[in-house]
């Protein structure tokens, strides 16, 4: 009897999902969600190993500030302003430690909170929309932004995602070298500055894309959690990267579907699923005894 009831509920849920998938914006959300999760997890491993875990947070705040400026300037396509600004900041931040007076984490913290404060101030002073709190909430926490994407945004996101994945595959060996031993790589004649610049640019692109999915305050989770979860189970760079991608995409899909069905905020639901995945990975890692 109980089994029959749960079967019926399961069928109802599937029916509801099929019904929701008739709407184009739900299909767009899932496509973009998967692409963003894939890209962010690819680079997440590198960023975590290079001790740049917090850079995603800093850059997302920069993207928020840039978005506020773009809104005030009434740009029809915010992306043309947000993307270059975030890329420039990413380059500046990842180059810290090289003849800079303000070092590492201090520079990230300064740019992060500075951009957030200026962004909110500008939005408050020159608010263009009728619902400021809604705009800010939507940008910071993602809210339901992923469900309000246009076809153009989906195409742009797809193109950028393909470029990011292609760059990662083409320069996989170089990124691997720069990630583990930059000094040695430099000594062997590798142009480490160029590859660091490449990582900075890709990071910025992913951050700007991920703003739609989880909002600027939760982007770090999308970058860090899958990588850390994979590191609990696997030990080699390749296997960690593959596991990270699989986990990230899986969590994003489950999170999006769950939030659509339950009516919860998309971004925080995905991050909650990422946290659960991390806990499971920790348990699996302990049971497996850290097999390679």
């Amino acid at each position: 009897m109980e089994h029959g009831k749960s079967m019926k509920e399961g069928v109802l849920l599937i029916d509801k999902l099929i019904f929701y998938f008739q709407y184009p914006f739900v299909r767009y959300a899932l496509i973009v969600g998967v692409l963003i999760a894939l890209c962010s997890s690819l680079l997440g491993v590198t960023l975590v190993l290079k001790r740049f875990s917090f850079i995603g947070d800093g850059l997302s705040h920069v993207a928020f500030g840039a978005m506020a400026v773009a809104s005030v300037l009434n740009f029809t396509n915010n992306m043309i302003f947000i993307l270059p600004v975030t890329v420039i900041c990413a380059v500046l931040l990842l180059r810290t430690g090289q003849n800079t007076k303000i070092k590492g984490d201090a520079a990230v913290a300064m740019i992060s909170v500075g951009a957030l404060a200026i962004g909110y101030l500008l939005m408050n002073l020159f608010s263009t929309g009728p619902n400021l709190s809604g705009d800010v909430c939507s940008t910071l926490f993602g809210s339901t932004s992923i469900l309000t994407l246009t076809k153009g945004q989906v195409v742009l996101c797809s193109v950028l995602s393909v470029i990011v994945v292609a760059i990662f595959i083409i320069f996989y060996q170089k990124i691997f070298c720069v990630t583990f031993d930059e000094t040695f790589a430099k000594a062997t004649g590798m142009k480490t500055d160029f590859y660091n610049l490449l990582i900075a640019v890709i990071t910025a692109v992913i951050i700007v894309l991920a703003m739609n999915l989880v909002g600027s305050l939760l982007i770090s989770a999308l970058v860090i959690f899958p990588a850390l979860s994979a590191m609990r189970v696997y030990k080699t760079f390749f296997s960690v990267t593959i596991c990270s991608v699989v986990l990230s995409v899986l969590c994003a899909v489950i999170g999006i579907l769950l939030s659509i069905l339950a009516g919860t905020p998309v971004g925080s639901t995905i991050v909650a699923i990422d946290i659960v995945a991390f806990m499971i990975s920790c348990a699996v890692g302990k049971v497996a005894g850290g097999r390679a």
Binding site: N124, S259, T264, S268, T269, I275
Partner: protein, 204 residues
């Protein structure tokens, strides 16, 4: 010490999960589209003025019998939801995320939804616009984070019902069913959306 750590982790997880809860009942938050203290004060003053006007109009047109008729009309329409299955988009059967996204799409690409029938639920809200000297009626729909409310304008039946006598109170939970259409006001370039020929039901 280990137990303490486990408890702390558990507490943190509970806090994280509860932090994402869908907080309903923050009525008027979405309606309050203000961004400064000055605007909040202005709104409060405007609300007070509105109340005064309402009281005066109530004195002028107050009729106990007509009020009873109206209550009957609203409650009599309650059965519509159960019997009528002909609407194109029934937002009352969707999750809050889907409702928000659908209403957003209606506002962004209204041409795709024109002529379609909708059933929505939310909070009733009325506002008086000085330029057109008319009252406008909305069904306010909250989203999952309760911060991005959207209002869908509607015209109850043919628009002949008298406000405030025949309408529910502000923030009352309502169900509206009507045909989606766009329109422009005289001398105003903006395109507006609304549900016309709507059936209004007040939830208990």
């Amino acid at each position: 010490m280990k137990n303490l750590k486990k408890c702390m982790v558990l507490l943190l997880c509970i806090l994280l999960i509860t932090g994402c809860s869908n907080k309903k009942g923050t009525n008027g938050k979405g309606v309050n589209n203000t961004n400064s203290i000055e605007k909040v004060i202005d709104n409060q003053i405007a609300n007070e003025d509105g109340k005064t006007e309402t009281t005066e109009s109530e004195k002028a047109s107050s009729d106990v019998e007509s009020n009873k008729d109206i209550e009957d009309t609203i409650s009599g329409a309650e059965n519509v939801r159960d019997t009528d299955e002909t609407v194109d988009y029934d937002l009352t059967q969707m999750s809050s995320d889907m409702v928000y996204a659908t209403v957003y799409q209606m506002m962004v690409t209204p041409e795709e939804y024109e002529g379609k029938t909708f059933r929505i639920d939310g909070n009733f809200y009325a506002t008086y616009y000085e330029a057109t000297k008319k009252y406008y009626f909305y069904c306010i729909i909250q989203d999952a984070t309760a911060c991005c409310a959207q209002g869908m304008e509607f015209i109850w039946d043919d628009g002949s019902h008298i406000y405030p006598d025949e309408y529910p109170e502000d923030n009352a939970e309502i169900v509206v069913e009507g045909t989606f259409e766009t329109y422009r006001e005289d001398g105003d370039e903006n395109l507006y959306c609304r549900l016309s020929d709507a059936i209004l039901q007040q939830k208990n």
